[in-house]
Every structure is written in C-alpha cells, then in structure tokens.
Symmetry: C2
C-alpha cells in the first residue's frame, strides 16, 4: 500500500484539496475536547507536521485514539481540507485511524523541552525530536551537497582505506586494530609483539586522514575527493572532539594554493546555498531556538568574498589588537581559537584564509615557500568557530620533500609509494580537509559535536 507523504502535501496542497488520502507516521501530540480530537502527525518526510481532526461518531475508535500515547505509529485515512485562515494551511479530517504500533505512557520523549544532555542518553530516539530531526536532515543534505558539488565538477570520489599500516602525519593518537587475544598477544622469542600472527601480519591502525592515498588518485584522475570516516584516539573530552568523525578531503592536480582556496570558498558557499534552498524550515528552527545569528551569519558568508592574509600579517594584526589574549600572539606559534576568531570577526569581518604558516607548525608534506621559513598552507577561519578548513599546496619536489622528512626524522621507506608520485610525473597539486561535523555545527549552530553525530564515540562513551 502506498501512502501520501506530508512533504508532498505541503508542496502541492491545492491539488490534494477535497481528496481522500492515507498517511502514516508517528503521533507527536493528541488533545481532545468531548467529541472532537486533534492529532499532530509526523511522518519523517519533512520538518512540518500534519494536523488531523477526528470526531466521535466518524471514527470508530475515538476513545482509544484519545488515550493513545505520544510516539505511537498510526495510519490515517481522511479528507484534505484547506484551512487558509488557520495556523496550518490544511488539515486532514479523519475517516479512520488505525493503530500500527502503540507507544507507552512512559515514552522517554514526551512533548516538552529536553536538555541535549538527556537526549544523548536516548540517542536512538532523539532523531524523533524537532532539534535532531533538523540536525540530521541537514547533515544528510549537506553530505549530498558536497557530493553534488564535486561530482558536477568531474571530481572522482575515492574510498581511501580505513585500516592502515602507516601513520599519515606521524602525529595524532591512533586506534590499533587486531584480531588477537588481548590477554595473550603473541610474542616472539625475544618478547616483542609477534605481529606475524595478527590478521594483517603487521601493526594495523585506524586512519587519521585519507590525504596521502588521495594524492595517488589525484595523480591519475586529476581531481578527486574523499568523504569517509577518520579516527583520533585523543583523550580530549571537549565539545569539539570525537574519536570517530567524517572528513572531506579533495585533492587537485595542476593546481596551487590559490586554486585550493578558491575551491574551498566555492564549496562552502555551494553547501550553504543548497541548505538554504532545501532545508529552509530546519534553518529557521535553528535560528529561532539554537542560534539567533545563524541565518544572518550564513547569508553573510554566501555574499562575502573571503579575505586572504598571510600568517605573518595575521600575527601583526594580533599584536596590534587592543584586547588581551589568553595566549600572546607570537610568530612561530600556532594560532589559538581566540586569535582566529579575532581575525575573522574583528579584523576582516568575513571569512578569511590565513596562508603561509611557519613550516615548523605544519605537516611535512606542505610545499616550502621561497623564504624557506614558511609553507604554502592555508586555514579558513570563520566567525564563531575559528578554523573550519585546513589545506595546503603539496611539496611536489622530491628533493625538497626528502629533506623535510629527514628534518622530521620520518623514514622514507615507510612512504615509498608516496615518494613515487614525485618520481613519476610529479606535478603541482593541492588539497584541503574539512571536518564534516565542524561544518554541521557551523551551519546549524549546534555547539557540541556529540549532537551532530548520530551515535557519537568519545572517551569512555561507546553506547548504542
């Protein structure tokens, strides 16, 4: 049997007027007065709900429906009636209401305001609430907008591996993966770990970035992107850290840092415009209940030309700032979120790319500038958040890359395939990484990463 969707009712209300239709969904609320009842139905297809009016005598189970707990699943047949003067543009006058599955009076998601903390304890039910309906529909649409952006531009989507034998940046705590008995991991005669008995015959970790693998595909398909999970075993219990999160990492060939920044700016504007078109109700909701500056901020972004500023100039701006910072800005030190926000919010008043960072605070694969002190890196800073995107032009010169790896004591043998790209037809290329959850936090105003991941994984938290 096929059901009319509430989404379609809102899109084409007039064409349904006077029609008999059948809808299915879950009860958000029920109230009745004597012989007349009102049931608010949500069917999962859009943010809006459908008001259903039911009458004793018309439906056969008036008493039963009036006692139905919130959260129950029902199937309703009735006539669509336009109500141009009411709050809702139409309602459904029920001819029958069938109970598909009853809920219970102790349903944990009653019609009232719950704290986000409480809702995390019922992560399996919270997507039924307004806030999380909005968050996770926006998350889905944003993911698709990203795919659409890159695919329309001919980028090839690459599934870089999750289990890895290498440590991308020589940085970041990693999760180990094993099939061996943890109580008795096999040892060699010398008491060392005997990885030869493990599944892969060598140490295995969960990846922290797909970039190096993506570069190999950019050298074949020109423009590629990854969009997949990454992992960090950082013991950070903050609103911004999760052990498992999703990243987007495009990589473009015959391209430099300027091309890279343009791509990042275009992508971000594309995603925001897509959400403004397709998730207007959800963004309105966030703007009303989560972050009253959201729509203004997003509108400002899509209408701004992003600023660009070198790290060295940024430090000068910060030193001249007439406000105290917790961390004193100093050339050679990483920018703190307070610095980043000051730059984008106060100095530039719009998103800004800070470029050409000191080599010592950036990864080995970033392209050395002519000054030999800075590298062709860029971070995109946005209001309220700080760094949203980080990228760089990659070091395509074999000798320069090897020299840098030696400085950092990275063993070239572990990177033989990465270095091969510089041996066989090397070319200028660049890329960036976007933490998907940080983007979702930015476009929804949600302040905790636990509230934009369906089932967040953090230190000491592996529920569900």
């Amino acid at each position: 049997m096929s059901y009319t969707l509430i989404k379609d009712l809102y899109a084409h209300a007039e064409s349904f007027a006077g029609q008999s239709i059948t809808v299915s969904g879950w009860v958000r609320s029920i109230r009745d007065s004597k012989s007349l009842g009102f049931l608010v139905l949500h069917d999962g297809t859009c943010f809006a709900t459908l008001q259903i009016v039911y009458e004793e005598g018309t439906i056969s189970n008036f008493q039963e429906i009036s006692r139905l707990p919130v959260g129950s699943a029902v199937i309703v047949t009735g006539e669509v009636v336009l109500t141009p003067n009411a709050k809702q543009p139409f309602e459904l006058r029920a001819a029958s209401i069938d109970i598909e599955g009853s809920s219970t009076p102790d349903y944990p998601l009653q019609k009232k305001r719950h704290s986000f903390e409480y809702l995390r304890t019922i992560a399996h039910l919270r997507p039924r609430s307004n806030t999380f309906q909005a968050v996770f529909r926006v998350r889905s649409l944003a993911a698709y907008a990203i795919h659409q952006f890159f695919q329309d531009r001919g980028f090839v989507y690459v599934h870089t591996p999750l289990i890895t034998g290498s440590d991308c940046e020589g940085a970041g705590e990693m999760f180990q993966v094993t099939t061996q008995n943890l109580a008795h991991y096999p040892l060699t005669d010398h008491g060392a770990l005997d990885y030869s008995q493990d599944f892969f015959g060598k140490p295995a970790n969960l990846t922290v970035s797909g970039q190096l693998s993506a570069e190999t595909y950019a050298a074949a398909f020109r423009n590629v992107y990854t969009f997949g999970p990454t992992f960090r075993a950082e013991n950070s219990n903050t609103p911004r850290h999760a052990a498992e999160f999703w990243m987007i990492e495009p990589e473009i060939s015959f391209a430099d840092l300027q091309d890279d920044m343009q791509l990042a700016e275009d992508m971000l504007k594309y995603v925001i415009r897509y959400l403004m078109d397709r998730a207007a109700d959800e963004l309105d909701f966030f703007n009303s209940f989560v972050d009253k500056t959201l729509l203004q901020r997003l509108t400002h972004i899509v209408n701004s030309d992003f600023a660009r500023c070198t790290y060295t100039d940024a430090i000068e701006h910060l030193k001249k700032a007439d406000r105290p910072f917790e961390y004193k800005p100093e050339w050679g030190c990483d920018l703190q979120t307070e610095h980043e926000r000051y730059l984008t919010e106060v100095v530039f008043g719009r998103p800004v790319f800070v470029t050409d960072y000191p080599k010592d605070i950036k990864a080995f694969y970033m392209r050395m500038n002519e000054d030999t002190r800075t590298v062709a890196a860029m971070d995109l800073l946005v209001a309220g958040v700080g760094e949203l995107i980080g990228g760089s032009q990659r070091e395509e010169r074999l000798d320069m890359l090897l020299a840098r790896m030696e400085e950092l004591k990275l063993d070239p043998e572990n990177y033989w395939w990465y270095l091969d790209l510089r041996r066989y037809g090397t070319n200028r290329h660049a890329g960036f990484g976007l933490g998907f959850e940080r983007l979702i936090m930015y476009v929804t105003g949600m302040a905790n990463i636990r509230d934009v991941l369906p089932f967040p994984r953090t230190v000491n938290n592996l529920d569900f």
Copy 2:
C-alpha cells in the same frame, strides 16, 4: 592558470576548432619520426586521450620531448585542429610543451599489458592504467548514482558508527579496537581483561553492519540509507572477500517485503542506467577487454522485470534440475552460488528475488512468517554472481522478536535500544544490504574484489 580539459574537448570539439588552448596531463606514449612527433596525453578527466602533434622548429625542445619517459607530466599549448578523417576526431598542434615533472625510464607502468596481480603491487600507480581508470571512475559514478537515487526519493543519509560495542548479528569475526599496549593489556585482579582502562572503557569492535542503527533512524525519518565502510575479520583468502568494504543499507518504514524488493530493483536499474549514460567509454572498454557479455547483461537487466520465487519453490526447481550440483539442494540448507546462478541463469533467465527462507539460516531480526518456519527475507540473485543483495522485512512485534532472541541465546540487554523501537510506536519496516564492491564487480566484469577497491585490505595484506 586554468587549463582546457580533454573531457570538454570531446564534448565540444567544434567550438574549440582553430583555438589556441593549454592542456596539462601525463604522457601515455610518445613516438617520433625525424622532425615530427606524436604525444598521447591523458589528463585524468575522461577515459579518452588527446593526440598532440609536435614538430622540430615549432617547439623549442623537440629532442628533449622525444626522449621524455612515459608517465611524465607536461603542459602543452597549441591549436586544436579537427581531423574528421583520422582515428581521433581532433588533435592538438603544439606550439610549446613544458615539462612539469619528468618520469623515469624504469617507470613501472609502461605501455604494455600488465597482469592484474602485478598491478596490485603498484596500487598507487595502477589508477593511471586504462583498466583502473575505468574501474575507479565507474566506482565513483556508481557511488554518486546511489546517493542521487536515494536523495531524490527523500531518503536521509545516516552515518552509522564504525566503532561499536555490539555485535550486530552475533555473527562474523570482528576486529577489535584498542589504545592499550598490546604486550601488556591491563588485567583486573582476577586476571580478566580490564577494559575500564581502554579508550571506551569497554570492548570495542569494528562494525559488520549499520542496519540496527539505521533502523533507529528509519523510525524517525521514515526512509533512510547508510553508505559506509564495514569490516569482516574472516580469514578467507578468496576473490570475493575483503576485510574492509563498503555497504549500502537502506531502511524503509511503513513498508513490507514487496516494497523492499521494488526498491532494490529500482535502485539497481537506476545505477546501471546512470553508468550507461555517464560511463559509456568505460563500459565499452570492459566489454572489449574484461567481459564480452557485459553490455548484453546490463542491457538485459534494465529491461527485465525481476522474477520472484519463494525459497521453497526454488528448492523444488533445483531438485528437478538435470545437472549435478556439488552441494545437493535440500530444504533448510543455504543456497550455494552454484544454486543461485542456476536459478537466475537457467530457470528464470533474469534477476530473481528468492524469498521466505527458513528461519534457521537467517538473522534474528527478520520477520517471522505465518508458517513459523520461514522468515520474510529476500536475496536478489543475478547472473554470473549469485547473491547481489540481501534484505528482509524486520520483526516489528516485540514478543516475536524476544522469543526469537531467546531461541538464539541473544541477551536482550545488549539490544535494549533496538528493542525500544518495538516498544515505542513500532511499525512495519524493511531494508536490504548491498555490498558495494560486489556491485562494482558486477557492472565492470572485474572478477577479483582486490581490483575494485583502491587499496584492498585482505588477510596478510595491508600494503600502502
């Protein structure tokens, strides 16, 4: 600087005629005779290459270019000349050829036929070969087609977690995830593993399926899908098994097994049609060099109404077959690939859904049929492969589900949140799983899963 893409040259050759353009890419081959040379350039944007004609006297570095090793990166400026009588519809007459990055004479990917086994040892370079250009462009397009199919139908994309505290089906070897020292995993006073000191404070594994999590979102968004990596630590060294692979798992509410099969059929046809439209060159290549029946097979699929047959009837068909099977067909036993292929290739001559399998060979969450012997499961069988998709209507009745879990000795406490879905507004729902690599093998004719994953992870293989 911006380059003309070879893809755009093929799309609008006439409009480029006589124009001076600049292209960039990698040398596929070079041959010269006296003062005239031909360079075949691939720029990663499409399967086809561009022939570049260069002349001594016109370009300044004729000798150098003629000695350039295959795989080198070059930037070429020249005039587009239509060549309607030649093999290529147009060529580029070079005014200059700049070397972006030279390759070497020992470049591992010379212009000759290499075995797939050899190419796996250079997985970082193989996407530059014709076969893997085709495979991984098809993979990218198929991934996007799947997103497009579901998003156009209003499905919400859910990122179900990869690291999990539960074992979805109580089946399948899993990878463990830990941050502890493997040589000295902390033990309790009683000598048991002290998980409290590990990152999540409890045992953690890599997921084998996102289905149960996806069901929680289907109870909020009606129709959802996952598309992400899954893991199996099976010690199977076969052409069909990988330790890390990607799965698509849609889940639909207020829907039964019939709806589920229709969705699977529609999705598969959609993806194949999308590839026929967008990857015609690649499919032609596979049809010529990998599987001569490919196009015929794919065309047949999109034009067939898929057949449907119960497992019980399927067993009857197999028993009546006038061919010997290695495994004797017997009611209650799982179908082997030989059985599956016989059914779809010989009995039905088109894709067939086999439905209503014995409960004992299927998972606990599948809906019990009225006969109490079979469950509302379906497998889609296709020629050459056997099972491509497996799905079921889910058991939405709490009492039936609990009874089944008790039979299988599954502890309801481990599934409290899954059971909650049956307590609070339960409803008919269904879903299926599609192994993405199996789909890619099917639509390309590639016979080994190692050749459709960018960097495959299998037993004792964690290279790159």
